[in-house]
Symmetry: C2
Subunit: 119 residues, 2 copies
Amino acid sequence: MTQVIDLAKKFASFSETWQPKILAEVNGQEVRIAKIDGEFEWHRHDDADEMFLVVSGKLRMRFRDKDAVVLPGQMIVVPRGTEHLPVAEPTAEILMIETAGTRNTGEHESERTAVLERI
Amino acid sequence: MTQVIDLAKKFASFSETWQPKILAEVNGQEVRIAKIDGEFEWHRHDDADEMFLVVSGKLRMRFRDKDAVVLPGQMIVVPRGTEHLPVAEPTAEILMIETAGTRNTGEHESERTAVLERI
């Protein structure tokens, strides 16, 4: 567990979008990274807060009542139960912290529900 | 909770070293940042893993049996119960994830035990 993890190397190791990869586990939370492009889908996580840190690109986090633009070196926490729609404009690389096992599409399964692998 | 947090602005808002600041809470974990310089002290956290992401500078994480050098864009997880000594060479800015309330000096109190504030 005490290996150094290089984010740039991890991002360089895959190309698919909206397929989060697990880098590490910390106190039952997973540290995940993902490449994203365009719009995801509205969803919420009833039992898990979700933190997004933008590494490159631009993330627009849409909520039902506002948008938040998150740029590299910026982060946002989406509280549990809050509907949100992540949109990359046009692409972004993000690091996420969320409870282990949290489904990327939240309360519903869809064609965008990902099977997460550890890299 | 859905405010955008800018790491550079947060780092610019304080100057003291080895005084972690809490930026956000995610599922009972605290997202903390700290400026560090030189050597801290050996300690361990019996009940909490600790993740370190280096934002700038150079962190040498010493363990009893090895060292790990962590550079900007790299991270390391120190598992609970593992003795470690963080050393900045000569300074670093780091982001940490650890269980809310975790004492920075781990199992013992010392003059370096910090009272954490939220910024």
